[in-house]
Amino acid sequence: MAPHLKIDHVDKLFARGSVVTDVLSDITLTITKGEFVSIIGHSGCGKSTLLNIVAGLVQSTKGGVLLEGTEVNSPGPDRAVVFQNHSLLPWLTVYGNVRLAVDKVFAGAKSRAERHDWTMHKLALVQMAHAKDKRPAEISGGMKQRVGLARALAMEPKVLLLDEPFGALDALTRAHLQDSVMALHQKLGNTVLMITHDVDEAVLLSDRIVMMTNGPAARIGEVLEVPLARPRNRLELATNPTYLGCRKRVLEFLYERHRFVEAA
């Protein structure tokens, strides 16, 4: 299949005065349409930086990002991001947050009533329609991430970018949301690029896991295919040898070959 998203020889240096930090080095990654790819690596290796480069929020120093064959280097709704800390606008309601995105993206394409239905539909997809008139401060952390996800889905992105979307949540809520994301991916067939530091999450959700080496100048150390049939069930997988094998491969990469070294 033709590549849907291509990250092409991306390098990233941060320069501050005379101090130059080499964060990413020669990252090349091809993602096909409908694929779910996770990036895993230790804290500070440059995962967020890579995702932000794809989103267009950060410019690469060398190399570029191609989406459906055309280069993208500024942010846009075709690469919607679900941010780690939800980033909902606190003065808007749940509905208002999603509607803002819908109004902007479908300004000419949909009528007012259609945009309302679209917004409500996306909220229903993440089971948040009941809280549509609440403000972000009035809902739980898991609910905020659901709304963030609804907002991203509402833009009908070509690639959905998730930056540790469940990082700040407790284990139960996290599992619940992982199942939701899996179900949504199954149903909508989105192309997803997700950052995580959770091995189980990576194996459970992904078609491929991209493992990054430690910085500075982090590279892609290894790419692992996860040949598990979908739909996946976390309880059944707990004893599945393929699942356990994949899990072991990632753990070995992270904790033996590229152990986290404390910054001096």
Binding site: A55, G56, L57, S74, P75, G76, P77, R79, A80, V81, F83, N85, S87, L89, P90, W91, L92, L100, A101, K104, V105, R135, P136, A137, E138, M155
Partner: protein, 297 residues
Amino acid sequence: MTVSIMKAAEAALAPSGAKLLRFRVPDLGSAKSRLLQALAAAATRLLPPLIMLALGLAVWEIACMKPGATLPGPSRIWADARDLIVDPFFNLGPQDIGLGWRVLKSLERVSVGYGIASVAGILIGALIGQSVWAMRGLDPIFQILRTVPPLAWLPISLAAFRDSQPSAIFVIFITAVWPIIINTAVGIRNIPQDYRNVALVLRLNHFEFFWKIMIPSAAPYIFTGLRIGIGLSWLAIVAAEMLTGGVGVGFFIWDAWNSSRLSDIVVALAYIGVVGFVLDRVVAAIATVVTRGTAAN
């Protein structure tokens, strides 16, 4: 055995009994007790200032009782200026009108000057807050201009406008605008990167960014500036009117001084204080309503 069963039964009964009680008591007396509570709360807030006011008036009265006192005591003021106190809105000819009318006239000037200052201050502040260099270059200048007393601007504005009405309005504008600019700029600088990222991903244009992200996000800061601004405006109008004349509470004080109506001046001071207090509270109330979303996070 029996003992433990009894205990269990008691334990099972006790909570429901408590529930019953808790449901009954408010049913019978909830309205009454809530009213009493509200009254008590109002009393604790109102009584201390009322008592202090009464004490202050008494001390004042005693201090002004001795023959040859230069200032009138409360009873003299009541006798001299009763019409001004009891009826703010009488109208007995062009120069003999109630203080309420004069206050309204002053408020009209304030609303024009302050209104222009608000709009201009927010716009300029938003522009400056966007750019690090504008902030670095202009902030020290604004900090200096901010400290120029309102009346120091009056001669310049009289020279520029050659008319008292626009001059007074200009003085209010120039007094109120600095804190609004400075606070807005700080608020804009403090917009979290997350909100900017959302705007970038959505490709909001400048106009949408201003209305949908900047203003709501910086609202708490903007209102801090607006609240300082309204206080300064009210300070400035009284001073400006004393010098520029016309109908207004400031000129009223000047006029009363020239015709030695000291009691009238004291009444006017009370009016000015109360109106200033109300203005401050009105802006604060608008702020709490408008920023409830932002402040909650």
